[in-house]
């Protein structure tokens, strides 16, 4: 069933030789789990770092059936390997949408729950996990456990954002969001600097979707210049004649391939500066409104199938941080300053205001989150440690799903409820049968934490 191969996630860093096994029935999964240690579940491998890498990765991609869809009430139940992309194909024509979606539709449901992903509507709708009704998890004992807010609530809560450490998620039932068209009424607003974009986020707080593209290399008065992108699901009467002909189309788009890794010098400080200049100064009034397909609004990068190859063979590290609201301006100003000084360009820099959020082990908290990506090079690691200090100093934390290099200390300080999480992991995964390179690196699943 298994063969060794070179595995890596979306950042292409780290890459490890590991076994990947797939299963088609619960019975097969249980047999595999009984026989192996050091297992982690893996879906589309769209987390960036080492979260779904382990000695034995168990792929959910063949366990991918949609089991139930209530077209009237918008409830869907599917197996862990079903991708958001294929859910959209089914639910959009029926007038429903994902309650929360990350910036790519090529993630599995299991992954969306294990990372408790957030989207552009976090400040209104929270994370993906907040819409889950119930799910099933195969724990270390081999039992398949049903859990929800009422039944085995501890397992339910710790699995949400638990990075697969409570067990193998096999089935998830969740609520969908009603839509009348598959289009988004989009508004783009230019902000001259960080302070202005903060004001705009506040001003447009009631908008369902909001995110900002930010120029991380521009200094001086224009530091933090950005374009805030807002969206609402469009109503039928807002569509033009052509769009109205098929208001719930899934706009199956064409893909541009990047068939191989580009040389890593293509994305450098200068090309990023040039791109940022052109993008910010594109012919656009201060405020521009459009009706756009949901695909280009939510998943602009999915059009380029392997856009991660644009960073070269050495791979890319995503660095996503969040600051508490009161420290956000300070923290971000300092981070941007540090990036500029280092001369390292982040090609895709995204800023977003999270709403208030309580969770055990999930990433979001009320405040601003910034996602940066840097091509892997030697001087990057000490530089990111500098950023770590700014993040910790301002009471912030990093997103585990994107991480490939933070220290155990950075994790425990950033996630104050890590102990409570660990207690639950211990209960369902007592000898850390389920563990990943990430959980080992962060000392989450190491001996001293095990109750033996």
């Amino acid at each position: 069933m298994a063969h060794k191969k070179l595995l890596s996630n979306w950042g292409n860093y780290p890459a490890v030789t590991a076994e990947e096994t797939s299963f088609r029935t619960v019975k097969e999964a249980r047999e595999f789990i009984a026989k192996h240690d050091g297992i982690i579940s893996r879906g589309m491998g769209r987390c960036y770092g080492d979260a779904s890498l382990a000695q034995h990765s168990i792929s959910t991609l063949q366990f991918n059936k949609i089991l139930f869809f209530d077209r009237l009430n918008g409830i869907i139940e599917c197996e862990a390997g079903v991708t958001l992309d294929s859910i959209l194909e089914v639910v959009v024509p029926a007038g429903w949408f994902l309650p929360v979606t990350p910036g790519t539709k090529y993630v599995s449901i299991g992954g969306a729950v294990a990372s408790n992903v957030h989207g552009k509507n976090h400040h209104i709708d929270g994370c993906f996990g907040d819409h889950v009704i119930d799910m099933e998890v195969i724990v270390a004992s081999g039992e398949s456990l049903f859990c929800s807010k009422e039944v085995k609530a501890d397992l339910f809560v710790a699995t949400m954002g638990g990075m697969g450490l409570t067990g193998l998620i096999t089935r998830v039932k969740f609520k969908l969001k009603k839509i009348y068209t598959s289009y988004i009424r989009q508004r783009q607003v230019k902000a001259r600097n960080l302070i202005e974009v903060f004001e705009l986020f506040e001003q447009y707080r009631h908008h369902t979707y909001s995110v900002a593209w930010i120029d991380c290399l521009k200094g001086g008065d224009a530091s933090g210049r950005s374009i805030l992108i807002l969206g609402e699901h469009a109503l039928s009467e807002e569509l033009n004649a052509r769009q109205s002909r098929n208001p719930l189309t899934t706009h199956s788009n064409k893909h541009l391939p990047i068939p191989f890794n580009l040389p890593s010098f293509i994305l450098n400080k200068y090309s990023v500066k040039l791109f940022n200049y052109l993008y910010y100064n594109k012919k656009m009034p201060k405020i521009s409104d459009d009706i756009v397909p949901y695909d280009s609004f939510f998943y602009p990068l999915d059009v380029i199938r392997h856009w991660n190859r644009g960073h070269g063979r050495r791979g890319v590290i995503q660095y996503q941080l969040v600051f508490p609201l009161e420290n956000s301006l300070n923290g971000l100003t300092e981070v941007l300053k540090r990036i500029r000084k280092s001369g390292m360009g982040s090609f895709l820099t995204v800023l977003k205001l999270f709403g208030p959020y309580e969770s055990l082990i999930s990433f979001p908290m009320e405040g601003y989150t910034l996602a940066l990506d840097f091509p892997v090079e030697r001087k990057l690691f000490p530089f990111l440690e500098e950023l770590d200090r700014i993040v910790l100093g301002n009471g912030g934390r990093l997103y585990l799903t994107k991480d490939a290099r933070m220290s155990p200390d950075m994790f425990t300080k950033g996630y104050p409820d890590a102990d409570k999480f660990l207690d639950i992991v211990n209960k369902y995964n007592p000898v850390f049968k389920f563990s990943s390179l990430l959980s080992t690196r962060l000392n989450i699943t190491t001996k001293q934490n095990a109750i033996l």
Partner: protein, 243 residues
Amino acid sequence: MTEVLIIGGTSDIALACAHFFAKHRFNIQLAGRDVEYLGRIKADLEIRYEISCRIYYFEAIDFESHKELIDNLGVFPDITIWAVGYLGDQERAQRLWSESLQIIQVNFCAAVSVLNRVAELYEHEQRGTIVGISSVAGDRGRSSNYLYGASKSALSAYLSGLRQRLSKCRVHVVSVKPGFVRTKMTSDLKLPRALTAVPNTVAKCIYLAVKRKKNVVYVKSEWRYIMCLIKNIPETIFKNLRL
């Protein structure tokens, strides 16, 4: 809407066929051994494609049960796809008659038992298409897998004869030779990437072969030339080759 019956419904190729035909507005009927798995597949197909799907318990080597299954299908299928296959373990089969028998019975005897009945009904109706998934391994016996190969060779010969017989009554028979396919059956094998297809490609190939009334199709065209070459190597040389 037309109906397609896929026998061996839980194999990866069968599953890919079910998706491909369902996407093209066919109702699906699946016969297989793992009824629980079939139930999940049924739910999935019905939700994704808004078609209807029926499932049946089917055991390849329970020959007695086959006639009853075919005679009692809820709706008679326009297309019947034989997607049952058992690779077996060549070395074990050399030593153990039971393994040899299993390979022969699943790949050949079961096909004859089922398709005999399907052919009879199609002949009576004067319409229908039978698709048999055979193998390039059946084109010439090789030491590494000749028991599997021999059983598939027998299947190929059977399909060829069936095609000739049924061509007189507008019933079409397609023989499919997939070559290497990345499936559960081959997950332990190291396969050369250039010659290996994915189940979706096989499904598309079968769909088009049915539509265009093809007789013998190789999923990857390279295989037609490779097998032509292999078939024409003189036996005196062939027997000393390591293939």
